[in-house]
Amino acid sequence: MSFSASREFVLVAGPNGAGKTTLFLAILGLLPHSGEVCVGGLCGGDRAARIGYVPQQIKTEINATVWEYVYLPAKFRKIRDARKAAEEALKTVDLYALRDKPLAALSGGQLQRAAIARALALDGDLLLLDEPLANVDPQGRVELLSLLREIKRERTVLMTTHELTMPSDLADKVLFLNKRLIAYGPPDEVLREEVLSRVYRYVRIAKTPVGYVCVTEDYGHHP
C-alpha cells in the first residue's frame, strides 16, 4: 500500500483483522515490514521519535499515576523540558487536576485522554490513535471528538475505528483497509456503496446534515 498525509485527519477503517493495528505497529517500526515509511522527513528507525501513539488497550494493573504515565515517556525520549511538555499536554486534555490519581481510578474516556496527553507530550508530527472511541460512553465520546478536532489543527492524525458514524467535519480523509489498501481519499469520495461493498458485507452508509451515519442491514435477510 502507499499513501501520504500532511496535517490531515485520516480515519483508518476496516473489519476485524484488516490490518489496522498492524499498520500502526509497522509505522512505529515495531513490526518488520518491506517498503518505506517516512514521518517528518525521517524514514529510518529514528522516525519513531516523530510519532505519538495511543494504544487500543490501556493497562491499569501496574501502579502508576496519570502524571507518571504522561511524563516518563517524554523523559525517556529526552524531550526538551519534558516536565513542561507533560504539564501542557495534561492541560490540553483537561486532566491536569487529576495528575496525582492512579490510572486505575480513571474512567474509560479519561484513560483515552491520558493516552492522548502522553502522545502529545512527545511533540511528534504524527499521532496514531488506535480505536480511541472504543469503550467510551456517549459523554466521553463527545469530549474526545471535541479534543480530536483541536488536536488535528497542528499535526497529522491517523485514527483507526470500527465506527463509520462520524461528524463530517472530523476526517479529512478515509483509508479503507482489508488486508490491503481498498480506498483512500476524502470522505465524500470514499464513503460510497461501491467501496463499502468491498470491505463490509451488510453495511451501508448515509450522509446526514451533521455527518455520516452507518446503517446495518437486517441480519435476518443474510443467513
Partner: protein, 299 residues
C-alpha cells in the same frame, strides 16, 4: 484521618533507617556474633528487594514465582563442583557456580517458549524439570559429598557469616543493584505499556535479559547467608507490599527496599528473642505479617 501516600512513604523510609540502625547497634552491643550475619542479610535483602517490584510486574511475574525452585536447584548444582574444587561452600567459587547455574536455568524458560509453549506453561515445565534435578542432586550430594549439608543450602549459614563472606558479597550485590538503579523505572514502565516503551526507545528485550542476569546475581550472592528459598521470597513479597502502600510507579523500588530493611531489622530482634527460629524463617514471617497489615491498594 489516614496518612497520604507520600507521608506513608516518608514514614516507611525513615522507619527503615531507624530500625536498621537499632538492629546494628543491638548486634554490636549485645550479640556481636550476629553483626556480620545481619550486615550480610540486610544487604542481600535490600538488593533483592530493589528487584522485587520489577519481578512482580506483569512482565516477569511467572519468572519471579519460579525463582524458589531455580535458586535451590542452582545452589545444589553449585555445591557439587564447589565441593570438588574448593571443599567449602564459603568459597567464592560457590557464588560463581550458583550464578552460572541460575542464568542457565532461567534461560531454559525462553528456550521452552521457543518450543511453542506459553510463558506460564514454559515456566511450569522448567519448574517440573527442576524438581527432578533437585531430587537427583540431593541423592548425589548425600552419597558422594557427605561434608555438604543440603539443609544449610535451604536455610543458609547465617550464624557462620564473617567479614570475609560480606566482602565477597559486596561487589556481587553492587553489580546486581546497578540494574534497578539505572533501568528500574524504564523497566517498570515497560510493564505499563510495552509497545509504547519500545516506541520511545526503551530496549525491552535487552532489559529482560539484564533483569535475569541481575536477579541471578543478587540471588547467587544471597544464597550462602540467607539460604536458597529466601531470595525467592524477597523477590516477591517486598514488591507486593510496596504496591499496597503507593500507587506511584517511581516509589515502588524505594518502598520495596524500605520494607525489606524494616523486615530484616525486626527479624533480627525476633531471632535473638527466639533463637530456635531460623533467621531466614523469621524474615519470611515478618514479611508475611507486613503484607497482611498493608492497606489495600488506594484508587
Amino acid at each position: 484521618m489516614s496518612a497520604s501516600p507520600r507521608t506513608t512513604v516518608t514514614i516507611l523510609e525513615a522507619a527503615a533507617g531507624a530500625s536498621l540502625a537499632a538492629a546494628f547497634l543491638h548486634a554490636h552491643l549485645y550479640t556481636p556474633l550476629l553483626f556480620w550475619p545481619l550486615a550480610s542479610l540486610a544487604m542481600s535483602a535490600a538488593v533483592v528487594a530493589a528487584l522485587s517490584p520489577l519481578a512482580v510486574s506483569r512482565r516477569m511475574t511467572f519468572l519471579a514465582h519460579s525463582q524458589g525452585h531455580t535458586v535451590l536447584t542452582a545452589a545444589l548444582a553449585a555445591a557439587v563442583p564447589t565441593a570438588i574444587f574448593a571443599g567449602s561452600l564459603a568459597s567464592p567459587l560457590f557464588y560463581l557456580f550458583t550464578f552460572v547455574f541460575m542464568i542457565l536455568l532461567n534461560l531454559l524458560v525462553p528456550v521452552a517458549e521457543m518450543l511453542g509453549l506459553r510463558r506460564d506453561v514454559a515456566t511450569g515445565v522448567v519448574m517440573s524439570l527442576q524438581y527432578v534435578i533437585i531430587l537427583a542432586l540431593l541423592y548425589v550430594i548425600r552419597h558422594f559429598y557427605a561434608a555438604v549439608d543440603p539443609l544449610l543450602l535451604i536455610t543458609g549459614e547465617y550464624v557462620l557469616i564473617t567479614w570475609r563472606d560480606v566482602s565477597t558479597q559486596i561487589p556481587l550485590l553492587l553489580l546486581a543493584a546497578l540494574f534497578p538503579a539505572a533501568y528500574g523505572i524504564k523497566y517498570l514502565y515497560a510493564s505499563v505499556d510495552e509497545n509504547f516503551a519500545r516506541a520511545v526507545g526503551v530496549r525491552v528485550s535487552t532489559l529482560d535479559r539484564l533483569f535475569i542476569v541481575s536477579m541471578s546475581l543478587a540471588a547467587a550472592a544471597s544464597v550462602y547467608a540467607a539460604g536458597s528459598l529466601m531470595p525467592a521470597i524477597l523477590l516477591v513479597l517486598p514488591g507486593a507490599i510496596a504496591a499496597r502502600y503507593s500507587h506511584r510507579l517511581t516509589e515502588q523500588i524505594p518502598l520495596s527496599v524500605s520494607v525489606a530493611a524494616i523486615s530484616t531489622a525486626v527479624s533480627h530482634f525476633l531471632y535473638t528473642a527466639l533463637p530456635w527460629l531460623w533467621p531466614s524463617a523469621a524474615l519470611g514471617l515478618v514479611l508475611l505479617a507486613f503484607l497482611l497489615a498493608a492497606p489495600r491498594r488506594r484508587e
